[in-house]
Structure formats: C-alpha cells, structure tokens
C-alpha cells in the first residue's frame, strides 16, 4: 500500500522547501500521509524518510511520539472526549460512559462498521466550554448526553460531511507562498551576515 502519491509529492516538496533543513518537514509530511490514507502506513514513512533524508526508523521514531498519528485504520470520525480537570468537573466521565453505551464500544475502540472511533483526550483548550469534545479536531462545546446522541445520529447519516472531513485531514486550508513574494529558506550555515534592515531604518 500507499507510498506518497504523485500529487502529494509535489506538495511535499513545496513544504520541504520552506525549511532551512528538510528534516523539519517530517511532521507536516506525516500529516500529509495520514490525510492521504486515513492513517500513517509503513510505506509512507519509508517514503517520507527518502524525501527528508532520514531512515524509516527515524521517521517512525518521531511519528510514534505524537498522539495524533495512527498506525492502523481508525474510524472515519474520531471522537475525542476531553477528560482533564475542567471537563471532568463538568461531567466528562458521564459523557464518556454515555458514548460507550450508545455506541456499544469502549473508549479507545472503533464501531464494527468502521465509522466512529472513541478516544479519551486531554485538555483541548476549551475549558470554559466544558465538557467538550472534538470530532476529527472540530469542536463541540458544553455537550450534553442528548447532544452527543444527535451528533452520533448526524455523523452516521452523513449530515456533517461538508463540515467535518474524514479522519486524516486536519486543516482544509493550506498555506501557499507565492514564488514572487517568498524570501526562501537558506541553510543556516550559508547565512553569515546580519539582516540588511538592521543597518539604519528599514523604510525606504
């Protein structure tokens, strides 16, 4: 399966070109691979290694450190329910139990139809809106058990497809640096002089 596709290689090279050192693009490329296949395959990691100049073991070493990267398929929708203090104080445990009962699965597993994965998550920076959750990293605030039921109904019926992309895609908008505006990344060892604007004023 799945090395990086032709189209994504173009994107990958563009991303690599933004960094003074190619290795810095490792995490963005892992996201790209996960976007392509829904999870990060071994072939993709080997390919990323070739692109950034690292071994596949080094790429896996980096990837495995980070919670968001999955190495096996997960549901089309990943529901992360926050269980850290502010959410716990406002009923996160009950919400998790409700989700488990409703879907008939435990936290950390996926429904038989492959649609929904449930995970316990840590603080999502929405503590005043507790208890909260994310579906493929899109927020739902102050979630009641009833609202969770509605959300699951909507996800199952495909009602939220336009708002929530399938697992793997985080941001749907990418940065584009126009060639005529880019300064361009330079390897640090090739920069020896101070930035020109430091002499006097920058304005013309």
């Amino acid at each position: 399966m799945a090395r990086i596709t032709e189209e994504n290689i173009r994107l990958a090279r563009e991303i690599i070109g933004r960094y003074p050192k190619a290795r810095s693009a490792t995490i963005p490329l892992l996201h790209l691979a996960q976007e392509q296949d829904g999870y990060v395959t071994n072939e993709a990691m080997a390919h990323i290694g070739e692109l950034v100049g690292a071994s596949s073991a080094e790429v896996f070493g980096t990837a495995s450190f980070y919670e968001m990267f999955k190495f096996e398929p997960v549901g089309k929708y990943l529901i992360n329910i926050c269980g850290t203090m502010s959410c716990a104080l406002m009923g996160a445990e009950e919400l998790m139990h409700h989700a488990e009962e409703r879907l008939g699965i435990k936290m950390g597993s996926t429904t038989a139809d492959g649609k929904i994965t449930l995970e316990r998550a840590e603080c999502q920076a929405a503590c005043t809106e507790a208890p909260c959750l994310q579906v493929n990293y899109r927020y739902r605030y102050r979630v009641t058990p009833d609202q969770l039921d509605t959300l699951i109904d909507d996800l199952s019926a495909g009602n939220l497809a336009s708002e929530i992309p399938a697992h793997g895609t985080v941001a749907v908008i990418r940065q584009h640096i126009p060639a005529d505006r880019a300064v361009g990344a330079v390897a640090p060892e090739l920069v020896t002089e101070n930035p020109v604007w430091l002499d006097g004023k920058a304005a013309l």
Binding site: F69, A126, T128, E129, I173, A182, V183, L198
Partner: protein, 465 residues
C-alpha cells in the same frame, strides 16, 4: 457591544475594560484582512519600519512586555540574550497551548490571526530574526485554517515576504503544526519537534534557545499572546501600555476561568491588580460559584500550579504576590472547585495528565509520575492504605526535594511555602504531576483519610506446641 458570547469567540466576554489584544473579537469577521485593515491593522508595522530596529527593541524592553506563556520573562530582555554577530536568528512562535485550564492562545489565533502575524513581523524586525515559524497545536484545525488564510492574504498584500511594504525588511512566516504532545510546549522540546524529532526537552545548560536554539542558532521562542501585544504597543506607545496594570505587571492579561462558576469564560483583565475574588465573584467576571455553593479550592495558574483555597481570594493576579503565597500564575488559567467536588478524584485528573505526558527522558518524572498516578487511582477507588499516602510524599520528594510550595490555611494552621520548588527533572512536567496531589493531600487530608483502609498490625507470636 460589550459582554455576551459570540459564536466565533466561544467563551469570551469583553466587559468594560481596556482591550489590548481582544479589541476585534466583537466583529464576526474579526479574522479577515479587510476587518484588520479597517481597525488599525498593520499600522504598528508601518510605524516600526519607519524607525531603526534597535529602537523598537528598546520600546518593547521599556514597556516590560511580560511573556504570557508561563514563566513571565520580559520579552525585550529575552531578545537581548541573543549573542551578538551570530546569524541567522529565528523566531519560533509557541502556539501549542495545552496546559490544563488554558484557553486564550487558541482564541487569539482563531479570532485575530493578523494581529499575531503583525506581532511576529514587529518582533522579527526589532530583533533581526530572519525566518519565523508559527508552531500551532496539531489538534486546532480551525486555528490552522484561519492562520493559513491570514498568511495567504498577508503575503499577497505585501505584508510578509520579500521587501515588506517596499522596505529593506524581508521575512518568511511558515505555518508549522504539531501532532499532539503536551511536553512540546516546553520551548526546547518545541525546537526539537520543529527539527523533525521526538519532542523531548533538551538538557540545560547549554541549550538556552536564545543562544543555541533551532539548528543550533540563536532562537527566540515567544508565546502567542506575548507577540499579539506588540501591534497595540507600537500603535499606542510605551506610556499608554504601562498606564494599564502595575509597574511590575503592565498591560493586560488573558485569563480563562473554568469549572464550578456561574459564568465560566475568557476575560482580558488588567494585569497585576484584579483579585481572585473579583474574578470568581465579580459581576463582570464569573458571577459567583454555581448553585450558590461554597468555594472549596481553585487552581490559580494552570494545571501545574499548587492550589489555593478561599483563604487566598484577596490576592491580586500578580506574580510577585502569588509566588510567596505558594503558587504561580503560569498560563492564566483558573480552575474552580465548589463544595461538592471530590478532591482526590479532581487531583487525579491532573496527575494522570502529567504522568501520561511525560516524555520519559528523566527517571523521577517517568517513574515518579506513573507511581503517583497509580497510588492516587488506588486511593480514589477506595483501595488505598495509609502507607500509600506516605508514599505519595516520598515519591514527590524524589521529583522535588525539600519543602514543596503550598498555600497557607488558617483552619489547618499551616503557613505558606513559597514558589518555586527545587527539582530533579529537566522540565516542569515531573513537578507538575506532583503539584495537584501534593496540594490536595496537604489541604484536604481528611478526604483522603476517609477513603483509605487503615492497616492493623498483625501480631506475630511464637507458636508453641
């Protein structure tokens, strides 16, 4: 329009206070270039470019713009720590916001991305930084999209890139994003992650990023809110900036208050003077404890901070007073527990967090955090013994030797142990696993005692025939 929650700025309440970084939150289209330009946007950059870079650096230094990421180190002084004559220098923006309770940088990124971008431009101009990386927490899809859009708009309009606004100043700003790891918020771990590695903090010294950071070059790591202050500062000047707040904590600060209050929310408050009582009970802030309950305890500065009880309500939100009282302000996050709170269980939600987020590089944190979580879980489940409670302190001692900071308590007759602590770990994750359980056990011992099984000594007697 003042007060109220807007759909695009969930949880934020403006109130009737100075707004340095949140002034555009009132507009539904606050994140667009059009709105930004209509509300003084990129004016601070123009003003900066008309003056020598070192003058702008001095302005930031004189205004004492404190870091808003946790440690509260003045930004102007931090920039001054870079060695002379070593190029290139980089700017890494810390948008990894993951400290439990903290919710402000995400709002700033989602609601006013151009303000942050302008802050990055001003900082890079002033300190001679030649490339900027905006490291945003991986799980924040909307923030990434809003910033990507804003960067695209700003490049096209000539605010970023080669010869900005026709000047000699050139800068690329690169959107970079993480993949879920709390410890990456620590600045040297952030740099490791940006180099494509596992996000583990570096041993210090010698790796202070200002001297030796990204690719071994001088690197400034600043928090999102810190940089978001700069456009206003340039537009309004140091005198206007220091007129707000106190001499040691000028300006404003964003604070998120969550948990058992009537109106949890994010507020931009006047730095240094607003008391915890104002924040928890004030009409313009949280309007009291839910259901008319009593306040039991609160975490004053993010999940890592030792806890306060009602005894500390009259302290102002000012580092120089909160430190001696036994805690810290950290990342501007207050979590409130009312009288119904199960204290050991509440402490467990935080200890578990830090134990799970340990990167594993140092033993006291890797082992100690896990031990604390296990022992505490046992106690919460009613299976703990009195020996477990002693062991919590023992394990804590191996992470942070000596007296651990805590608040005073009149009823218990205990005096405060001031912040900070000594530590046997590379970064603050290890101590942070201990802080909640230490506070809970010190201030609410009886709740633990009620939970545990007291061991009775078994008499061993000689068996005679």
């Amino acid at each position: 329009m003042t007060g109220g929650t807007w759909k695009h700025a969930p949880g934020f309440y403006a109130g009737d206070r100075p707004q340095v970084v949140t002034s555009r939150f009132q507009y539904e289209d606050s994140y667009t270039l059009e709105r930004y330009l209509a509300t003084d946007g990129y004016k601070g950059l123009r003003l900066a470019l008309a003056r020598p870079a070192n003058e702008i650096h001095d302005e930031v230094r004189n205004a004492t713009v404190l870091g808003r990421g946790g440690a509260g180190f003045p930004a102007g002084n931090k920039w001054g720590l870079m060695p002379q004559g070593v190029w290139p220098r980089y700017l890494v923006v810390n948008g990894d916001e993951s400290e439990p309770g903290t919710y402000k940088d995400r709002l700033l990124m989602e609601c006013d991305p151009h303000q942050l971008i302008e802050g990055c431009l001003i900082a890079s101009y002033a300190a001679g930084l030649s490339q900027c990386f905006l490291y945003i927490r991986g799980e924040m899809a909307l923030a990434q999209e809003r910033i990507a859009t804003a960067l695209n708009e700003a490049y096209a309009a000539g605010y970023i890139g080669k010869n900005i606004l026709g000047s000699k100043f050139s800068l690329d700003i690169i959107l970079h994003w993480g993949a879920g790891a709390y410890v990456v918020g620590e600045e040297t771990a952030l740099i490791e992650s940006l180099e494509g590695n596992r996000g583990m903090p570096r041993l210090k010294p010698p790796y202070f990023p200002a001297a030796n950071g990204l690719y071994g070059q001088p690197t400034i790591v600043n928090n999102v809110e810190t940089l978001a202050n700069l456009p206003w500062l340039l537009n309004n000047g140091t005198a206007a900036y220091t007129a707000i707040g106190t001499a040691t904590s000028p300006g404003t600060r964003m604070v998120a208050i969550s948990g058992h209050v009537n109106r949890p929310g994010v507020f931009e408050i006047i730095n240094g003077i607003t008391t915890f009582r104002d924040l928890l009970y004030g009409e313009e802030f949280c309007q009291g404890i839910r259901n008319g309950n009593d306040l039991k305890a609160f975490v004053p500065g993010g999940g890592s901070a030792p806890w306060f009880t009602p005894d500390q309500l009259d302290l102002p939100f000012e580092a120089s007073q909160v430190g001696p009282a036994g805690s810290m302000l950290g990342s501007g996050a207050i979590m409130v527990m009312d009288s119904t709170t199960d204290i050991p269980r509440a402490a467990l939600t935080l200890t578990r967090f830090y134990a799970h987020e340990s990167c594993g590089k140092c033993t006291p944190c890797r082992e100690g955090g896990t031990w604390l979580e296990r022992i505490l879980s046992r106690v919460v489940d009613g299976k703990g013994t009195d020996a477990d409670l002693d062991q919590i302190f023992e394990v804590g001692e191996s992470i942070c030797p000596g007296a651990f900071p805590h608040a005073s308590n009149e009823k218990l007759g205990i005096a405060a142990v001031p912040f900070p602590y000594r530590m046997n770990t590379i970064c603050f994750v290890g101590p942070s696993a201990y802080a909640p359980v230490h506070s809970a056990l010190t201030l609410f011992r009886s709740e633990f005692d009620a939970r545990i099984v007291k061991r009775t000594m078994i008499k061993v007697t000689a068996v005679s025939e």
